[in-house]
Symmetry: D2
Subunit: 214 residues, 4 copies
Amino acid sequence: MLSSSLEAVRLVVAEPPPGADLDTVELPCVFGDAITALRRAIVGTEPDLVVATGQGGSRPDITVERVAINLDDAIGADNAGNQRTDTPIVPDGPTAYFTTLPIKRCVAAIQEAGIPATISHTAGTFLCNHIAYGLAHLIATEFPRLRGGFVHIPFTPAQAAEREKRPSMASATAAEALRVLITAALEDLRDDRLPVEAGAGNGSKSWLSRKIRK
Amino acid sequence: MLSSSLEAVRLVVAEPPPGADLDTVELPCVFGDAITALRRAIVGTEPDLVVATGQGGSRPDITVERVAINLDDAIGADNAGNQRTDTPIVPDGPTAYFTTLPIKRCVAAIQEAGIPATISHTAGTFLCNHIAYGLAHLIATEFPRLRGGFVHIPFTPAQAAEREKRPSMASATAAEALRVLITAALEDLRDDRLPVEAGAGNGSKSWLSRKIRK
Amino acid sequence: MLSSSLEAVRLVVAEPPPGADLDTVELPCVFGDAITALRRAIVGTEPDLVVATGQGGSRPDITVERVAINLDDAIGADNAGNQRTDTPIVPDGPTAYFTTLPIKRCVAAIQEAGIPATISHTAGTFLCNHIAYGLAHLIATEFPRLRGGFVHIPFTPAQAAEREKRPSMASATAAEALRVLITAALEDLRDDRLPVEAGAGNGSKSWLSRKIRK
Amino acid sequence: MLSSSLEAVRLVVAEPPPGADLDTVELPCVFGDAITALRRAIVGTEPDLVVATGQGGSRPDITVERVAINLDDAIGADNAGNQRTDTPIVPDGPTAYFTTLPIKRCVAAIQEAGIPATISHTAGTFLCNHIAYGLAHLIATEFPRLRGGFVHIPFTPAQAAEREKRPSMASATAAEALRVLITAALEDLRDDRLPVEAGAGNGSKSWLSRKIRK
């Protein structure tokens, strides 16, 4: 069964938010490789905005991550069989990064669209946080004009139907939340940059990555 | 904002399950009057199946009620301002009724359609249980060939967006669950009745009631 | 590890509520046998009040059951390996019984003692409901002056420590809740019976049963 | 009603863990002042270990915080009426600190003592995180030999009794968890320091702070 994150991103690709020149990439669910693939995609497409997504199985709503921490600490293995416990993602990297997404504007826009969303202060210590930290570190060290962050998507109804009493969200709803978030983040980016970049075109490039498990 | 139950039923009416001759009625959210209106509708349309629906705000999935108890016990008032505490719905009525819906078949069918659903053993002690008990009592005392039961629908995403960390379900998903449930219940009804009713037409009449708050 | 119900009852036995002549019995966690053992104990000790207890693992508070239904429907087997699906507890018995405990008085007294408690409208469809129904049926058919009901006890902290993010309650707290419940129920019983039974002694006999799994 | 954190700390003070020379201070629930009072107490008593505690109302278990972030972002005001939104705790301070408590050893010890506990990756963005960050910043910048962290305590049963369906923990249980945590942290500190500090006495000084609301 497809992850909820992958299902939602496919619907966004099929019907992107207006005014966004959207590209996507599937990141391997492998420590290290995920960030390498993410960096390669950023270099290749030079986006203004990166929205990484992952599955947040027990969460009832869209959660936009505010913080990513420099820590891999997982009970299970990644898709290549690697186990990481109490390991920094970037040795000598800072303890944490705040997202560069305008999260309050994004969450408010999603709620106004009639979709439940909140800010989250932890993305866990597995691949989701790994990608969130990796993205923030790339922005801080290599791509200072880029903005980006990580969004958790609840289970799909089909995933919840196989479990006991878990909340879920239709992929169409989650996809609409991602569209609204991208639009809000691009607006914020333009609001913020226009004084500096008078004359900039309005065709901002946005970009979604999604973590997948094999 | 419309109740999740009303939204879902409207979508079922707009696109009914195949082979079902569907009628609907909105029941007043008033003790006593709700059951009177339900009885009038049953008399008027002579359905084979009645599926009553209501909003189950904190529930993450479709819940099909198995039991209705002879008790009104509410903190708040109904839409006519009536307050009922520790009051039997039908004086001298039995303590409880089991539903006449084939609930296991219905829940399995909904889950197989990729929508989370479970059996519930309490519909509470407010209007939802009131209608569930009233329907079961009408079946037991006046309409012995009728089958029916009560289904709780989670909040819509828009309702959840106004609250904190509540689970929700898209109305399109809830509506599909109701279609699947009606189809499964009508199939069961035919399976059950065919030996007895050889020659009966296949156009079973089904019927949805929904509780609404003003 | 002892069940939370057994731990709490042992503490009540060690320090019973004042004025209560308390007896206890451990019921086998076996369909049918549990009720037989319960009946034998009632015949042997002639109590005024029976409070049956069981473990309600996912519940955060003391829950006093209001309703017991005539249904065994379990996924797992009982301690004798019996599996029951969609089976009445008492063939031709009523669909349900309301408890004869003064549940609102009991819940209010527990809350006033600073312990979280609520009324519950379902004891499930496994041994807890089986015993609750069996007790109510014995009262209705053989022991009309007896009062009794069923109380669910949350996990102990030690049980929760072995699981993920489950609520728990210290056995000392649960035991105090049972003492307060017994006292409130006996007071109610005296209030109710005194006009009829002028001259009755004040040493009401109360009685706890507890379901145990091997 | 006393906060659960204050109740638990009082019990620890009344019966400290063996071998710990324990001191306590109540921190004002005021942004800035809380950290000032904490610093003053550290200067005055020169502890080896500081365990700050606060109330985590909706949590079912003892949660030991792993991360504190440089952010005050509260809907409500503190006890002096200050409101802080999107404000750094320490301007130019790092985004976050990891705790210097041996959290896995502490959580394992609490669980082995039969009390539910987990690691938490967010202390929120109100006073609890404020104190956790302030403590970590003091350790990083002024008291490099000190260790410390923050622990969230669930509601007491009495607090949960006034709310709906909230988990709780008896103060005696929470106090025992704090004793076990202090003992484990001091052992870890000795294990870690002994090679360096051969001949050090065994009377490590530990120390509890607790946030209180007026």
